[in-house]
């Protein structure tokens, strides 16, 4: 189980959160869902591509085999 605390802390600065919805250790991927239900400013949260790049950078520090992070962003639905 990947610990996504660093990503959650980053997002919580904007009043939003994330949850881990899946991971594939063989491929080195993780899937997160952005939780912005109570956000006062959804636009304040970084665009998904930025979030994915930063999440990968943060999570790689403790999961060096990680190659990609995908984020479901409700703002795009």
């Amino acid at each position: 189980m990947i610990d996504i605390t660093p990503v959650r802390q980053m997002l919580q600065a904007d009043g939003v959160d994330a949850e881990l919805i899946g991971s594939d250790d063989a491929v080195g991927t993780a899937r997160l869902r952005l939780v912005i239900d109570d956000a006062e400013c959804a636009e304040c949260v970084m665009p998904r591509p930025f979030l994915e790049a930063l999440a990968l950078k943060l999570l790689r520090e403790t999961n060096p085999g990680l190659t990609a992070v995908y984020i479901e962003d409700p703002r795009e639905q």
């Binding site: 997002l11 600065a13 636009e43 304040c44 949260v45 591509p49 930025f50 790049a53 930063l54 950078k57």
Partner: protein
Amino acid sequence: MAPSEPPAPPTGAAAAGPMPPPAPTQTGAPAAHPTIRVYLPDSAPGPTPAALAVSPGSLAGLRIAVLDNGKPNAATVMTRAAETLAGRTGATVALVTKKGPQGMSANAAIPVAPDVFDRVVAEADVVITGAADCGSCTAYTVHDAIELEKAGRPAVVVTTTRFEVIAATLSDSFGLAETRRLVLPHPIGGTDEPTLHRWADAAADRLISLFTQGTVA
């Protein structure tokens, strides 16, 4: 710009295509295929490494621009900081502008408008930009500052304690880890003007250091 991490270099990777038949061994039995890893060639390129602009030895006689992303109180605190800095150093506040087209508006969640960028580069020697006090505005403030550094204009990102780490992480991801960052208390928006002025006045020494040395002494 799409910040992303480049994948590991595909050392030893083979091009996709049909495998040739295995060469027979001296005993006549087919040799086992070696393991070949094929990497998808469709990842985005990593950031282009950038460097800080040359730091001036002194701010005397230089022109300061304030590039405002429209966040609440951003212009107030940055303009005051620029004025205080000018008073301390002999520089002048040459330009205060929002980052949207013609400087008439600002959206903190997009890059600086090209015409405003060109004007800042033409009319200023150093730049104070922000406020980087939300995720999106931090991303684009850092982006703008790096572009200004590339254009030879030392640029200080005004961020807050809550977004300090995010600004540093984004700077690294965007190819310039050592962006000049002035960290103020959080929040800037919602803080009364006398307090903002006090923060700005207290930042003068750090701004001088950031502009002339690239870091806070």
